[in-house]
Amino acid sequence: MKRFKAKFGEAVREAWLDRKQAILVVDAAKLRSICQFAREQEKFDMLTDLTAVDWPKREKRFEIVLNLYSFPKNERLRIKTHAADGEMVPSVITVWPAAGWLERECFDMFGIRFEGHAGLKRILLPDEWQGHPLRKDHDILQQDEAWVHENLGIESGQ
């Protein structure tokens, strides 16, 4: 972790341990080069998970969370970055191909756009669906009633 700090200086904003888990918060702009470093120098060769958390009250509401795992070290590392609504986040698909579907899911659920992802389209929801359901301002009962009516021919039950 210190090595990350040393290498990227200011771009690594915070680093701490929470319940024995290493967490790094980094600048979105430098995300890709940090990931490259993590994979090549620090041997975090597997991207286990990529997801996001929505904090609507913060200035940059989305927190993108990458969970990494290193086979040689048997260690996990979490890299976080922040993005405002509509802001582009660099895609890590060139670093770990596994990010392909995970970033699509993030886009689907939160509306976060990833720069450099060629096929960024909805994955779990239908292509024409309106809204991003995992945002906090999206109510649990809310759904795209127009879509349901049009494509399924039924009135939405909600």
């Binding site: 090549e40 597997m46 286990t48 998970d49 929505d54 969970n67 060139t94 770990w96 359901p133």
Partner: protein, 381 residues
């Protein structure tokens, strides 16, 4: 580690307009061998696959959104509905993640019982996989044998907690139910019988020329590709990466038991089959060891009736039958989780489908889907 040869394999395929010899075949979502509502679009040259695209989401229920509106305990039954053929494993992962968030730990007796049930669940899940996989490849009989043994496991679950499929067997902090009378006896009898049954399946399939011909060299995934694509579980081990969370980062009571991690060399469908067969044997071995000596004592840690974990976040992963199932839970100090993210093994393993299927024939698609052992409830959540 090398740069994976073709990073674009993970990208969705753009389907060009087919030429004279190319047709686009749509498989599913209503197809006998897509294991649910998976839809695969195949671009074919004759019967050879040039590109493929999985279209998923037909079973999306918004589990992660539901989690934000339930209390920690209320959400526990929902995780059973994701991978509905391995509900116990899902439950274990979630309970341990929340326990980690609370800073609590289940008592030893609970841990051992959890281990036994999870391993039984692994056997049941692999049995279902074996049966359906064999059925996909055209062997009609193994599925009935497999379901016969799976029934025994489900009976144990039923006796333990009253449910067979979506069990909700564990609670955050330990167990709700004490084991029933004769639990050890049932598990022991099952394990004793099971040895011979695995032999029986192997006799039907392992040496069978047609089976070998259909599975060897099909859907090859090298170790590098598997790691780059985030593939976990038996497919990763069959690619030669000897890695299992039960050994790498032990949870529950796994550090107390002896077992081996099977692994393959070629990373083809046949190796994945062998790895899963061996895993069933190892699970049986763990069960036998655990049943010998279940510690006595309480089954529930003191976690209180209302769970209010301190703010923070935790990622906890366990080795589910399909691969690494991880829970990323964020707490804001209230009774409801702020965010629950599930890392579904089937979803990420399915991403490797395109890499595995290219250049094979249509008939191999079903073998590859089968060997990935996906459950659509988990892919779509």
């Amino acid at each position: 580690m090398d740069e994976p040869q073709n990073p674009a394999t993970a990208l969705p395929v753009e389907m060009p307009i087919p030429g004279a010899d190319e047709i686009v075949l749509n498989m599913g979502p209503q197809h006998p061998s897509t294991h649910g509502v998976l839809r695969v679009k195949l671009k074919l040259d004759g019967e050879r696959i040039e590109a493929s695209e999985c279209i998923i989401g037909y079973l999306h229920r918004g589990v992660e959104k539901i989690a934000e509106h339930r209390s920690y305990q209320q959400f526990a039954p929902y995780v059973d509905r994701m991978d509905y053929v391995a509900a116990v494993s899902n439950g274990l992962g979630y309970c341990e993640a929340v326990e980690k968030l609370l800073g609590a730990e289940a008592p030893p007796r609970a841990k051992v019982v959890r281990t036994i049930l999870t391993e039984l669940q692994r056997i049941a899940s692999h049995l279902l996989w074996l049966g359906t996989h064999a059925l996909d490849i055209g062997a009609l009989t193994p599925v009935f044998y497999c379901l016969r043994e799976r029934e025994e496991v489900l009976k144990i679950f039923e006796k333990y907690c009253g449910a067979r499929l979506t069990t909700h067997a564990f609670r955050i902090g330990g167990l709700q139910y004490e084991t029933y009378d004769g639990f050890e006896h049932d598990v022991k009898r099952f394990c004793d019988d099971f040895e011979k049954k695995v032999e029986e399946y192997e006799q039907l399939l392992t040496g069978n020329r047609i089976w070998v011909g259909r599975t060897k060299g099909i859907g090859i995934l090298t170790g590098e590709q598997a790691i780059a694509l985030g593939v976990t579980g038996p497919p990763l081990r069959a690619s030669g990466v000897k890695w299992d969370i039960r050994k790498a980062m032990p949870y529950a009571a796994y550090d107390q038991y002896q077992f081996d991690i099977p692994s393959g060399q070629n990373g083809d469908t046949y190796d994945r089959y062998l790895v899963r067969m061996e895993e069933m044997r190892q699970s049986r071995r763990i069960c036998l060891q655990a049943i010998e000596n279940i510690p006595t004592g309480p089954i529930m840690a003191k976690v209180g009736k209302v769970l209010k974990p301190p703010p923070g976040e935790v990622y906890h992963a366990i080795e589910a039958p399909k691969g690494e199932i991880g829970y990323y839970v964020v707490s804001d100090g209230t009774v409801q989780p702020y965010r629950v993210r599930v890392r579904p093994p089937s979803f990420i393993n399915l991403q490797a489908f395109d890499t595995m299927a290219r250049g094979h024939l249509v008939a191999d698609v079903v073998a590859i889907i089968g060997t990935l052992d996906i459950v659509l409830g988990e892919v779509d959540r």
